[in-house]
């Protein structure tokens, strides 16, 4: 009897919710930590995801209609800009930082190298309005989109209402970004003991070295932490970028930067906030030989890291196991044909 009451109550509740919420398509391995982003409150729907995908690839969002998010965030390189140390934007203007890869963003509590953005939903505002990136205003983007029937339809599908607002544009980007999740690398298969995840002795040794020397900051399974650290890079005096201090205005944060994920690291070159390293070999050599002592240098790096030549190679081989081809070539994340055929 009581069971029945519970059941009916549950059905009532579900039907209330069911009217508003469509099916959530956001998933992740059950042994992963809970995302920071509130997926329960803002589930990802297929319609929202497709809207975000169109927005992400559409150059109409820049002032002169030439640059889209994808101009700087290419799928095949883990959604970052390759072959440029500092990202290029509108009219070829050069920004001051290397673009970050967009992966597993639901687990980040702040964005950008200095963490200046405190919520994924407002992240897109920065590139949209930056003079050196897309140089638009959100107000104007709303106005532009409002004149395009294709988008009116997309917004209707996503929000059951075709009114385009700044909030909805931002939520659209968020829905797409939230889906850019990578957890099918060889490393992941090794952890899950799946076929294709058999580690060689070299890779196993690389993982061990990684866990002993790098994982305190680049922590599994995300290979990142929501912290800002000084990893001993010398200041580039042509840029004078002091990272986190710009946001907090606290000298203790001088030269601290976001700890980026190392997933798909083989493909996200160049490396570091200013793209100063071209290869992973250079990065490893930085950690063994290049650490600059300073007041804010992280505790973890105060003692020198000593690797033999063979150990360096093993670590490198391990880092390559973080490559997730399924993610890098997933057709759902690529340029949507609808942008050409329907718009």
């Amino acid at each position: 009897m009581k069971k029945a009451v519970c059941f009916i109550g549950g059905i009532l509740l579900l039907s209330f919710i069911g009217l508003k919420v469509k099916k959530n398509i956001f998933t992740y391995p059950e042994y992963w930590p809970k995302p920071v982003y509130d997926i329960i409150k803002n589930p990802v729907t297929e319609e929202g995801f497709q809207l975000g995908r169109a927005l992400f690839y559409d150059p109409i969002l820049s002032k002169d209609n030439t640059i889209s998010c994808a101009s700087c965030h290419l799928q095949a390189s883990g959604f970052t800009h390759i072959d440029h140390d500092l990202s290029h934007g509108i009219e070829g203007k050069i920004g001051t930082r290397n673009s970050l890869a967009i992966m597993n963003s639901a687990w980040s509590d702040s964005f950008m190298w200095d963490g200046g953005i405190n919520h994924l939903e407002v992240q897109a505002l920065a590139p949209l309005t930056s003079d050196v990136e897309m140089a638009e205003t959100l107000e104007n983007v709303v106005r532009k989109l409002d004149t395009i029937p294709f988008y009116k339809k997309m917004f209707y599908k996503a929000f059951q209402d075709s009114t385009i607002t700044g909030q909805r544009v931002l939520l659209g980007f968020t829905q797409f970004t939230l889906m850019l999740n990578t957890y099918n690398s060889k490393y992941d298969k090794y952890i899950r003991k799946e076929v294709g995840g058999e580690f060689t002795a070299q890779e196993k040794n690389g993982l061990k070295l990684f866990r002993n020397n790098c994982a305190s900051c680049h922590t599994e399974p995300l290979f990142a932490t929501n912290k800002f650290k000084n990893n001993g890079l010398a200041v580039d005096t042509t840029l004078n970028d002091y990272g986190r201090m710009k946001i907090t205005q606290n000298p203790k944060d001088s030269l601290r930067f976001k700890v980026p994920t190392l997933r798909n690291i083989q493909f996200t070159k160049p490396y570091m906030h200013d793209g100063r390293f071209e290869t992973l070999q250079e990065v490893i050599t930085h950690y063994t030989n290049g650490i600059q002592q300073s007041e804010t240098l992280s505790e973890e790096l105060k003692d020198p890291i000593l690797f033999t030549h063979r150990e360096k190679v093993d670590l490198l081989v391990f880092l390559r196991t973080l490559t997730d081809k399924e993610f890098l070539f997933d057709k759902r994340f690529s340029f949507p044909k609808a942008l050409i055929t329907q718009k």
Binding site: G116, V122, G166
Partner: protein, 234 residues
């Protein structure tokens, strides 16, 4: 299973009664009229004004958030005010009259509100309506609302086109910019006129030295202290 039910049934009852309560609560209108002035003179876009420091000044943008209106906080802290935010644009008439709804209670003796947007909202992602970032009152590179924008020009500013730009915001503990105001009201009063005198702000600022503040920090926090003095009721 049994244990669960014990928790669930009172919860349902509670929700049910709450719904009843809210649906029966009686509200009345309370009007906030905002009157932007310069030294008592009505503020007009692109008119010239002269500050106490002798600077000639023109304004082309004056916008600010008033949020979190409350009445007689001590006695009924549970009161629910409907419509309790407004993004005022001194040059957009629609935004100069705001009608709140408060629980029927003619005996309130104070009205309280914030100049600016709370830190909680500044960390809540993309919001709608007055809080939609498309209103241009949200920072792109360092998340958070701009509580107050005052822009214009003065020959005293040694800047390009003699422009001055004050964007006041930031919610970090060390440099907060939200300010709380409260004013007395009389029994049965159901509207106030909020006078915002820009002269109070510009009289305190040396435009030769200080003409643009556009990031959170100490300067913004000090400007907020000056800005709050612009407000008075008539």
């Amino acid at each position: 299973m049994k244990g669960n039910l014990k928790v669930i049934s009172p919860l349902w009852l509670f929700m049910f009664f709450n719904m009843l309560l809210f649906s029966q609560q009686l509200n009345e209108d309370f009007k906030i009229k905002v009157s932007p002035v310069f030294n008592g003179e009505k503020l007009q876009k692109d008119d010239w004004y002269v500050s106490k420091k002798g600077d000639s000044i023109q304004f082309n943008k004056v916008k600010f958030y008033l949020t979190d209106f409350k009445f007689d906080l001590a006695e009924n802290s549970q009161q629910k005010i409907i419509n309790n935010t407004v993004l005022v644009d001194a040059f957009d008439k629609k935004t100069l009259l705001k009608t709140l709804q408060r629980p029927l209670n003619k005996k309130d003796s104070t009205i309280q509100f914030s100049l600016g947007v709370s830190g909680v909202l500044s960390e809540s992602g993309a919001l709608s309506g007055d809080f939609d970032p498309a209103n241009g009152m949200y920072w792109a590179w360092q998340s958070g609302y701009i509580n107050i924008k005052i822009e214009g020009m003065s020959p005293s500013c040694p800047t390009r086109k003699n422009k001055f730009t004050f964007h006041i915001g930031g919610f970090q503990k060390s440099y907060p910019t939200l300010r709380v105001l409260s004013f007395p009201i009389k029994e049965y009063q159901n509207e106030i006129t909020l006078v915002v005198d820009l002269a109070t702000f510009l009289n305190e600022i040396d435009l030769k030295e200080k003409h643009s503040v556009m990031i959170p920090g100490e300067k913004a926090s000090k400007l907020a202290d000056i800005a709050v003095n612009m407000f008075d009721i008539k």
